[in-house]
Amino acid sequence: MRPLTTMLTLAVLFGLFVTLPAQAQDADSLILQGKGMMAAGLSAADLDQMRQARALFERATGDENRAVLAHYYVARADHHLANLLAETDEGAAADHLDSAIEHLKQAIALEASAEAYALLSSAYGRKIGLKPMMGMFLGPKAGNALSEAKALDPDNPRVVLTEAISDFNTPKMFGGSKTRAMVGFQRALDLFAQEDITDPLLPSWGRDEAYAWLGIAHMQNDARDEARAAFEKALDVNPDYGWVKYVLLPRLDNAAGSE
């Protein structure tokens, strides 16, 4: 019985109670690991994975050579966390958006980039979604950040996508336009098709999201076939895209079934 007891003890010790020490990692591997975890968390709408990804990015901010990217990705994780928490814990969602804005400001202070400005604009826009009466004050900030992004890189597909999403979500009375948004989604997709990012550390997200938003725009126009085609293309780009798979396509099916 001794080997059995010993092994059981070991199993219990190592399997249940002992947290193995993480090895020292450089910033690049932290960011890469975080990106993978963030993608998985996004697909599964898994808060815990997203929080772990955020923690990895936050650790990477300790490396000054990668601080710009690390701050950007912390903000990206915060942005996703805010989306995941918006329905259940609005206060926490707002905290994550504040954090995203703060990290993006730090990233921009170190090195201004169209990517960071576009995400900053999006974070302001999301905050307006949470607290509409702040639109009067945050709207110009979102607009200014987007203007900076466009000035730095007008053909960046994520910049074009961000502007199109803003146009789509902004009420008409405040200058939004569904028509302009539709044109923007199409242009973003054209630009994504031409984009060739080889460095895995750099931001490369957005193509699946652009298809998803195009599908939503079609859905609002009652163009269900076009919407379905767009959602299916989003799944071609990212077969695990939970938002499309579990939310948007079922919503489209329900809309079709209710008639």
Binding site: P3, L4, M7, L8, L10, A11, F14, G15, T19, L20, P21, A22, Q23, A24, Q25, D26, A27, L30, D48, R51, Q52, R54, A55, L56, E58, R59, G62, D63, D78, L81, G91, A92, D95, H96, S99, I108, A112, K131, P132, M133, M134, M136, F137, L138, G139, P140, G143, N144, L146, S147, E148, K150, A151, K172, M173, G175, G176, S177, T179, R180
Partner: protein, 755 residues
């Protein structure tokens, strides 16, 4: 041992060996690697205040990428090559960072326990200056331009909308801000750091009918009814600070046509994100309004005016911005006035302009804002022997700088120089209130100037997650008074929970007399600064869509300017105000189907005042002229269906105190009388009450364009609120003077085009 058991045991052993070899061994190998002599291991647990483990907290060695996230139980472990004394840091959104110093040696394992405490207050969000109503990102109670124009009874006016908040008394139908027993001159109005010396249109002793600055030129406002910070000087009671619009995000043209006004405006981003232009022009013509609603006969010239704004915003870098704001307004009116000594027509005409250049830049960690402004004002007032052309010119230079000091403190410094010149030309009655054209009058041709220089320093410090304090010191030097005053101001805020916080504030406030009050004939060259102290305690609770606030205050006054028996001014006035302000707000504009607020103020205010007894005057303590005991405002707005919304606003206020005239003495050789007054503030006007309704329909069309149709019904109950008493020439009879603002309807349309 039965054979079957032996087989089972063997199977178990095989399974466990497999688990050991393929699952545990790699882990052990990793652990062994971690235990190599060149590395130290940091392990431990992160818990919350209740001792429960916190998952997915980021734990790292400060200044490195070495670290780990906690597991579901809050446990963590990581290996590091760092040595010596280091700090382990645990961070999580919504919690204060936890730090623990450790001594690291190769081969050692260090165990730490970190406790994360929820962030209850944030420095940038704390409102430590007692009760303030703001537009901005952080505060809970806001007043956006849209809120202003949709507030029933506010007539799309910032000042009138602010009147619906607690601490501001309703005196009449005008826009005057009478804060906590003080008169309108005790509230300072700022725009982009510049002083708006004449903030009211169609000025009157109780302020004016409207605010000068239209709401759509303003992106945010900060209104404090007391206990405000050392940034603001020259005000005994309150501060209203407005910020003008920034860069226009897109091109848009707006046209508005209503029963009493028409306007055009354009927002043009000349260079996207860099240079923007805003233009607006407004023509008011109340003739049609008064014809539709009656009362046209009350005016010999209906109130009418022109105003225009031209603003340029140049965002020359991500941190640098130049903003040029220009505003000019012109208004005039003629109204029949029955004074005891003269029954005639009052004619008024005013031109007011404000030009302000503001520069914003960030140098290292300092945010610097500088403003250079000029405010010009010229008026003409004619009634009987009064033919006065007052004017003033104010030049101001102001700079504010601020920076963070770590994550727990913020430092703000600033200074300003302001030069005011008052001019008076024309004639004024020799004897107050005796306006007969034949009565004796002074001939005036005078100019008075005054320069005031001020500076302040202020530190906000958050010693713990629950507490934020602010300590400020302000000093002002006034040339005509040859006096320097020092105003210390302190405030302290504590949060019991995320939803509930309380504050205490104390401060000293000085306000110098206007330059013309230093004239040796009717004023006094020896006048000193007037003084008030603010003692404030407040409580704020917020949960979901409900906001509740309560504030109590005590405000003693000293050295108030008062007319003396020798017929000039002295600093002999004194008084006090104390009261309670309550505020409840539900919902959020544009977000909830219903939103609204309820504001109630209780006030007791007494001051030493002048009592006229023919040519003689005495001084008596009595209720201050603006001691409105109970003041209630209720505002409710509802989205009826689609883009159709409607609202009701109710205001009730105790009538303000008046000093009755109980007798009169004839002036020898003249055809008029001088009043003999009863005890000061011994009577009150009847209570003020008013119900207003407003509805609007928003119709979007094209690509981002829209039309908004609006309809307002003012004074729905057609109540004839009494705003003063009129006397016959011999003061033998008294009649009530009722408001001109009886039930009236107003409608119009605003069209916005976004090409």
């Amino acid at each position: 041992m039965p054979a079957c058991f032996a087989h089972a045991q063997t199977a178990c052993l095989v399974l466990l060996r497999t688990v050991f070899c393929f699952v545990l061994l790699p882990g052990l190998a990793g652990f062994a690697r971690a235990q190599t002599p060149d590395r130290a291991v940091v392990r431990g647990r992160v818990v919350d205040a209740a001792g429960d483990g916190m998952p997915f907290v980021n734990v790292s060695l400060e200044g490195t990428t070495d670290g780990a996230a906690t597991d579901r139980n809050g446990a963590f472990a990581f290996a590091t090559r760092q040595q010596g004394r280091r700090r382990v840091r645990a961070t999580m959104i919504g919690y204060e960072p936890a730090l623990r110093a450790v001594e690291l040696s190769p081969g050692d394992t260090v165990v730490v326990r970190l406790v994360l405490k929820e962030t209850l207050l944030r420095l940038e969000e704390a409102v430590v200056t007692a009760q303030a109503y703001t537009t901005g990102e952080a505060e809970t109670v806001t007043l956006s331009p849209l809120e202003v124009v949709t507030t029933p009874g506010a007539a799309a006016d910032i000042f009138r909308a602010i009147q619906t908040f607690p601490g501001v008394a309703v005196i009449d139908e005008g826009a005057g801000l009478f804060v906590r027993g003080g008169d309108v001159t005790e509230t300072v109005t700022l725009l982009d750091q510049a002083t708006v010396v004449h903030p009211y249109k169609y000025e009157s002793p109780t302020g004016g009918v409207f605010g000068t600055i239209p709401p759509f030129l303003v992106s945010g406002t900060y209104f404090s009814s007391g206990g405000f910070s050392a940034r603001y000087g020259g005000a005994l009671s309150a501060v209203l600070a407005m910020e003008s619009q920034n860069l226009p995000p897109r091109t848009s043209f707006t046209a508005n046509a209503g029963l009493a006004a028409a306007s055009l405006s354009a927002d043009v981003p000349v260079a996207s994100g860099k240079l923007g232009l805003r233009f607006s022009g407004n023509r008011s013509f109340t003739g049609l309004l008064f014809r539709v609603n009656g009362q046209r006969e009350a005016f010999t010239r209906v109130p009418q005016g022109l105003d225009g704004n031209l603003s340029l915003v140049f965002q020359y870098s991500p941190t640098g911005r130049l903003k040029l704001f220009n505003f000019v307004s012109d208004d005039q009116l003629g109204v029949h006035v029955a004074e005891p000594s003269f029954d005639g027509v009052y004619q008024g005409k005013t031109t007011n302009s404000l030009h302000n250049l503001q520069w914003t830049e960030v140098f290292d960690k300092w945010l610097v804002q500088t403003s250079l402004s000029i405010n010009r004002y010229a008026a003409q007032r004619r009634l009987g022997n009064l033919d006065l052309r007052p004017g003033d010119r104010t030049l101001k230079l102001r700079t504010d700088v601020e920076r963070g000091l770590g994550t727990r403190a913020r430092l703000a410094l600033g200074g300003e120089v302001e030069r005011i010149a008052n001019t008076f030309r024309g004639t004024i009655p020799l004897q107050d209130d005796v306006l007969d054209p034949e009565a004796a009058a002074y001939v005036l041709d005078e100019e008075y100037t005054a320069t005031r220089a001020g500076a302040y320093a202020e530190v906000e410090w958050q010693p713990s997650r629950r507490i934020v304090t602010r300590a400020g010191l302000r000093t002002d030097y006034h040339a005509p008074a040859r006096q320097a005053v020092v105003d210390p101001r302190l405030s302290f805020q504590v949060a019991w929970s995320k939803n509930t916080r309380a504050w205490l504030a104390w401060g000293l406030y000085h306000q110098f007399p206007m330059p013309y009050q230093y004239n040796p004939e009717s004023g006094n060259p020896a006048l000193r600064a007037q003084q008030a102290r603010h003692y404030i305690a407040g409580l704020h609770h917020e949960r979901d869509l409900l906001t509740l606030r309560a504030e109590v205050y005590y405000k003693p006054y000293r050295r108030l300017t008062l007319r003396a028996a020798e017929d000039n001014l002295r600093n002999t006035g004194r008084g006090r105000a104390r009261g309670v302000d309550l505020f409840a707000k539900y919902g959020a504009f544009l977000r909830t189907r219903f939103n609204g607020w309820l504001a109630y103020s209780f006030l007791q205010s007494r001051r030493l005042q002048v009592r006229h007894r023919g040519r003689a005057i005495t001084h008596e303590q009595g209720p201050s002229p603006f001691d409105v005991t109970h003041n209630l405002s209720a505002v409710g707005k509802v989205r009826v269906v689609g883009f159709l919304s409607a609202g009701l606003g109710l205001r009730y206020a105790t009538g303000r105190p008046i000093t009755p005239v109980v007798d009169a003495v004839a002036v020898e050789g003249q055809d008029y009388y001088l009043p003999v007054e009863g005890p000061v503030g011994s009577e009150r006007l009847p209570a003020f009450a008013r119900l207003d309704a407003q509805a609007s329909y928003f119709y979007p069309f094209g690509d981002g364009s829209s039309a908004t149709f609006y309809l307002a019904l003012s004074n729905v109950l057609n109540r004839a609120n009494v705003i003063d008493y009129d006397y016959t020439a011999d003061y033998a009879e008294r009649t009530e003077r009722a408001t001109h603002f009886r039930r009236s309807v107003y409608f119009g349309v605003t069209v916005t085009l976004n090409p």
